[in-house]
Amino acid sequence: MDMLEKARAERLWPRPPLWVSALGAAALALLIGYPFIFTTSFSHHLMILILLYALMAQSWNVVAGLSGQISLGQAIFFGIGAYSSTVLFAKYGITPWAGLMVGMLLSALAAVAIGVPTLRLRGHYFAIATLLIGSSVQIVFQRWDWVGAASGLYVPIERTSPLFYLQFHTSKVPYYYLALGAAAAGYLVVWKLRRSRLGFRLQALRDEPDAAASLGIAIARHKVLAFMISAAMMSVAGTFYAQYVLVLDPERLFSTEISIIVLLMTVVGGSGTLWGPALGAAILVPLSEYSRIWFGGTGRTIDLILYGILILFVCMWRPSGILSLLAERIRRRTGIP
């Protein structure tokens, strides 16, 4: 366990020179003070989306980057999170905070149900299986009358106690801090996970499945565990998203598009790295929002054209992601490995 001790002693980023630490501190301060520096509603909206997507992309990164399984069905858990809190609140008046927990639990259970039979499959088989299960779940929710079938659900408006009902109608700032908190919690969990025994086993079985198995690592059980963590993270994003937009549309929540976008963000940023998903979200969300402003109309899909081309180029020329480019730069300038 020498490696493990060494890894535990490792810091969040490899021992940085002063200017890098200063930059990090400045970034942190910027994140905390952001809503007061940029005061327009749009800038709040943009950052909320970036934070939520950063969390969602990180959730995908746990399955793909750590355990090496390409999930194309992450939208399932996003939808479960959104539906859990909203159904409990709309039908039984239960606070979305409890719904958040229920959603995480249900998502983790769904991950077990999906993962146990399919995570034994390698490579393309698992990717295609999750793609098909994702579409199937969408079909089921679109026809399930109890949860509003194809027309979906509305989150009932409740103005009495914003914090209890998790909806804020006068300002986006509280949503910003909620999203920041959720993203920070998610990244903290993954940072811890990467340095834990479980994290090391996952990376071992990603890189050398046969060798890992011969060392006595229960491959299937570890992969299911990673899938559960990923599902719970995705579910949190789903609940917050539902509380933010207040409308549940199965067409959008369970769309393959969501599953794909989190994948694109992670790969563009750098899959398997801690900060890659955040970098990907920070690049792709503004790209999407601004292209919509400049070219107008959601139906014109300029953003998806750019996404597609960008991801293709990254895969062709820099499969390890943009973050590795930056890391290389820093390494070269500072001489730190």
């Binding site: 299986a129 079909i139 139906g299 899909t301 081309i309």
Partner: protein, 288 residues
Amino acid sequence: MSRELILQAVISGLLMGLIYALVAVGLTLIFGLMEIVNFAHGEFLMLAMFTAFWFWALGGLDPMLSLPFVAILLALAGILAHFGIIRRLLKAPMLAQVCGTFGLGVALRAGAQFLWTPDFRTIANPLIAGRVQIGPIFIGQPQLITGGICLLSFAALWWFVTRTETGLGLQATAQDRQAAAVMGIPTERMFALGWAIGLGCVGIAGTMLSTFYYIFPDVGTNFALLAFVAVALGGFGSILGSLLAGVSIGVVESLGGLLVDPSYKTLIVFGLYLAVVIFRPQGLFGRF
């Protein structure tokens, strides 16, 4: 439920299944050759349908007449995709291969939506239309001719792969890239040929489909999903397997729609995929 109704469902499922099979065979051929899954396959089908549509809308050429042109154009697109994109992706890890072809698909689909709007289009008054009656069964004429052309394409493909020298080279490359290269087979050219044939098949399937199906930017998605199922069912890399699997999927889907509920027919097929990959991961039929 009368016997005629079931027979009707089986036959229309069979004819639809032949299209699934022709889409799937391109996918399986490409995978067999270079172990890469083309996640943009459905989008190429969509492009084929739109190409046939524009031949008709702008040039007044019926799909039956533009068939060879569309097939050749798609084959050229395949060669272009191989040399422009895939050759680089082959060197990347699997994750990048999946994401790369996926990204290509996303860009193509969004590009089509940008250029041609998400509207549904159809080709009015195609050369072949109407239906024929055989006993108590009605069969749409376009579907019947489509089925025939799909079968012909399969026969041609089978003959090419097993009876010509180039086809044998293709098989050799699929079995062992290095050994084939040592034997003097130009493997790089074989890869390009695989893409040309694979997308050529998609061109034929798309053109025929455009005579009786809606044409819209998202049309490929569902066909690609079913083609994935067919490829997994038939075994990755098996030509005959994808024919049998495609046809079975068509029949299962059509019967499921009739006996269970039309809105769940895709679910039944997806369930079939899961059952097969879990219990028989190598597919129902062997390679080639």
